[in-house]
């Protein structure tokens, strides 16, 4: 992007404000204010759930467990859980919609919505302090087909949000004003951004969408104060770089190899490693033009947080032909594994397998199917799947996969991993695509059997991958999961139910019909005035639940 265009964009943003001249005038002052000490710092985010009145990063802490220590709502009283308030976004997006996880600090919720709306909301009443709406271009590419956002990152008085036109914004959390705005990539080629930025010590990490277009994915780090880019990791190697041997020797193919990074990552502060999932190679269903494993598509990558350098990778679906992006929340835990303590990372994958990897080395420890997928039924000793049906023979998981980006949860004391499973039946028919910048190139078509399809909340034993219990839904579901230390699992489904389960037995203890499918979002919980709240986005509403006041 030229400086002129950048300036146009920034000015365009300002002209939307009523007093843009004044804004120009005080702009430098606001940058200075953003550096003050009020608001949560890196140490606060690092402490995760130790202050339960806060939820400062997408999963509540860096580990991605989405497991809160709060116990006020428990298996005995959850049946009396009731809505306290509902926030209506006033936006029109339906179906795919409200995928965000709200952040909360000092009684204020910070919430992003579809079409790059955002709000600060009073956590007690659901009343709004401010609203932001980005003036998006009319010729959005990927961003038009999935106009969603998964949340803010937060540091001090700054909030960070990515946009459908592939920018990263910093906000002043007190009034929603923009502190800086940087372009991640040119949206007109096919890029967009939808994840919640991951804030570390002195940097904001974000990925990018666009693997359905002729794009090349990356993970970026930015300076939270200035927006200056600190490093970039390209998910598809350049010519001659390690990994390029898994592609045809053609710089053009590498330059549009896909590998989006649109879901959030997790972080291990001791190892100083970032764990991030990488999406499908491009074209999605047509692989003849890209023989090889196509690294680092459909992989989990572990990056050095200071430099962005790759430490290790594990590829779940080599040479993917089914659009099974590995953009899932990597869940970090320290567990006893075959008699010894190990640092592991766990992933429930779109290809239908649940994985446990050593997160220091990337060593493959376990891979077991959690759905009836016929793509493969086992992972070989070398960590590679033994593929039985690439999709052309029918009835493999559809392109939305056996699970997807909806966050799972890990309950350390029970050793159980909870995730939403989708049972679907799709046949893939590849077709050589034309590759035009700004146009999607799936490379074929899919036939989905409308008579088959269901969903389930499943509890997996992480030692064996075996199913401990399940609760079935009438249709394939995109709702995420939260667990709390009171022995509860909260989950949402495609029919709009928000539900609580006994984490041990799987018994359904409570449900509430929100009126719209719960898509992509996992619940969050926090303590306010001594009262525990649980929040879930659904359709175009955000609802807060609590026990009745005594």
């Amino acid at each position: 992007m030229t400086h002129k265009r950048k300036l146009q964009l920034i000015l365009g943003e300002m002209f939307n404000k009523p007093f843009f001249a004044a804004f120009l005038f005080i702009f430098p002052a606001m940058v200075a204010v953003a550096q003050d000490d009020s608001g949560p710092n890196y140490g606060d985010i690092l402490q995760g759930f130790s202050d339960p009145s806060r939820w400062l990063t997408y999963s509540g802490d860096y580990s991605g467990k989405r497991h809160s220590p709060l116990t006020q709502i428990n298996t005995e009283n959850v049946a009396s859980l009731r809505p306290v308030w509902t926030f209506q976004t006033g936006t029109t997006t339906r179906g795919r919609g409200f995928e965000t996880t709200p952040l909360v600090d000092d009684g204020v919720l910070y919430v992003t919505g579809s079409n790059n709306y955002a709000w600060a909301i009073d956590a007690r009443t659901g009343r709004r302090f401010w609203q932001y709406r980005r003036n998006l271009p009319e010729d959005l590419t990927y961003g038009a087909s999935a106009p969603v956002n998964r949340g803010f990152g937060m540091l001090g008085n700054s909030l960070f949000m990515v946009t459908l036109d592939a920018h990263l914004l910093a906000f002043d959390r007190r009034n929603g004003d923009i502190l800086w705005d940087v372009e991640l990539a040119d949206y007109r080629v096919g890029y967009a951004a939808t994840g919640a930025p991951l804030v570390l010590d002195g940097m904001v990490i974000t990925g990018v969408s666009g693997g359905e277009y002729a794009t090349r994915g990356f993970i970026d780090a930015y300076d939270p104060t200035t927006g200056e880019r600190l490093w970039r990791f390209n998910t598809i190697p350049g010519p001659g770089e390690p990994g390029s041997e898994t592609w045809p020797n053609d710089p053009e193919i590498l330059a549009r190899g896909g590998g989006g990074t649109w879901m959030n990552g997790s972080y291990d502060p001791e190892l100083n490693l970032i764990y991030w999932g990488v999406g499908n190679p491009n074209p999605d269903y047509y692989g003849d033009s890209r023989p090889g494993d196509n690294l680092y598509s459909n992989s989990l990558v572990a990056l050095d947080a200071d430099t962005g350098e790759l430490q290790w990778h594990y590829q779940f679906t080599p040479h993917d032909l089914n659009d099974w992006d590995s953009n899932h929340m990597p869940v970090l835990a320290d567990i006893e594994w075959q008699g010894q303590q190990r640092k592991v990372v766990m992933v429930g994958n779109r290809n239908g397998f649940f994985y446990v990897l050593d997160r220091v080395s990337g060593e493959f420890l376990l891979g077991k199917p959690f759905t009836g997928t016929t793509w493969a039924r086992e992972i070989g000793a070398d960590g590679r799947p033994i593929v039985l049906n690439d999709g052309s023979k029918g009835c493999v998981p559809d392109p939305w996969g056996s699970t997807n980006f909806m966050p799972p949860s890990f309950y350390p004391e029970l050793g159980l991993f909870y995730l939403t499973a989708r049972e679907t039946c799709a046949t893939f028919v590849p077709e050589e695509p034309s590759l035009v910048p700004g146009q999607a190139s799936f490379g074929g078509v899919i036939f989905i059997d409308p008579e088959q399809g269901s969903g389930a909340l499943r509890a997996l034993d992480v030692q064996t991958g075996e199913l401990r219990w399940e609760f079935t839904y009438p249709s394939p579901t995109f709702g995420g999961v939260l667990t709390t230390a009171a022995g509860l699992v909260f989950a949402g489904d495609h029919e709009g139910n928000f539900m609580a389960f006994d984490a041990v037995s799987g018994e359904n203890l409570w449900h509430y019909q929100t009126g719209s499918r719960i898509w992509g979002a996992g619940a969050m919980t926090h303590l306010l005035d001594g009262r525990q709240y649980v929040l879930i986005p659904s359709g175009t509403t955000l609802t807060a639940f609590a026990l009745p006041e005594r």
Binding site: P399, E431, A440, P476
Partner: protein
């Protein structure tokens, strides 16, 4: 984007099957490019060209099939409608379909598309070619007989205009959406295809009642039906002893001795006259 650039993209954009590509090049060569503002015209300039539908099919599979399905029949779980049925909607026109592709659909995730106009018209041609429509068929029965037979055999459950029941689908305009062969097959064997919203179920309540009906909706905890008395009812799944979905359609099968081919012709012609 300049006209020239659009032209160029149209040419280079569709490289898949050689035949279609050639057809596209030819079409673009013969079609004089018209600026967008003027092209809000009423008719498809490619309507008479049989190659346009094939070229449109290639574009459709690359750009539209992920949501609307490879056969344009839609994917209900993501609210993507069946496009083969849209032509039976009142007021639907090629011009309107053109506008929807170009401008998107407000309030839905159907985005706008910055395709060259010629490519959009190719898509319109393709969608025309896959439209489910029996309207061009010849109907030979006796309408008056058909009206009487419909009242006797069908109207308890099916509506046409202001008359009839609601347990089965409304049959107004049905001859536009289904061929005569398909309708005949449904009369002889109602289980051959059952539309969403009309799948049969038999429920047994804890009180021992058995309720027959068609499923309108359900979630993990409840089910909403229209029962065989045509009353909307909802049940909590916890108050049901059993639910059986493997039962036959609530519509009886009409064998030849109950309703012969001539009588069936009469009913179909009656239905066709009722649009």
């Amino acid at each position: 984007m300049s006209q020239e650039a659009q032209h160029h993209r149209g040419l280079s954009g569709q490289a898949s099957p050689i035949l279609v590509y050639s057809a596209l090049c030819l079409l673009l060569a013969v079609q004089r490019y018209t600026p967008r503002a003027v092209l809000a015209q009423q008719t498809n300039p490619l309507a008479s060209d049989p190659r346009a539908a094939a070229a449109g099919g290639v574009i459709f599979r690359a750009q539209c099939a992920t949501c609307h399905g490879a056969d344009a029949k839609g994917i209900s779980s993501i609210d993507a409608p069946d496009l083969t049925l849209m032509w039976t909607q009142p007021g639907m026109s090629e011009n309107r379909v053109f506008s929807r592709i170009q401008g998107g659909v407000q309030g839905s995730i159907m985005p706008s598309h910055d395709f060259p106009d010629t490519e959009i018209w190719m898509l319109v041609s393709y969608l025309r070619s896959v439209a489910v429509s029996g309207a061009t068929e010849e109907f030979r029965g006796n309408t008056e007989n058909g009206a009487g037979l419909f009242a006797d055999f069908c109207a308890d459950c099916h509506r046409v205009g202001r008359e009839g029941g609601s347990l089965g689908p409304n049959l107004g305009r049905i001859t536009l959406r289904r061929t005569q062969a398909a309708l005949r097959s449904s009369v002889r064997d109602p289980n051959s295809t059952i539309d969403r919203g009309y799948k049969p179920i038999s429920l047994t309540t804890v009180g021992g009642d058995t309720v027959l009906g068609v499923i309108k909706s359900e979630d993990a905890f409840s089910i909403q039906i229209l029962d065989s008395d045509q009353r909307l009812r909802a049940f909590s799944k916890s108050e049901l002893i059993s639910s059986d979905r493997a039962i036959a359609s609530l519509m009886p099968a009409f064998a030849e001795r109950q309703l012969n081919e001539t009588q069936l012709d009469d009913i179909l012609n009656y239905l066709h006259q009722q649009q």
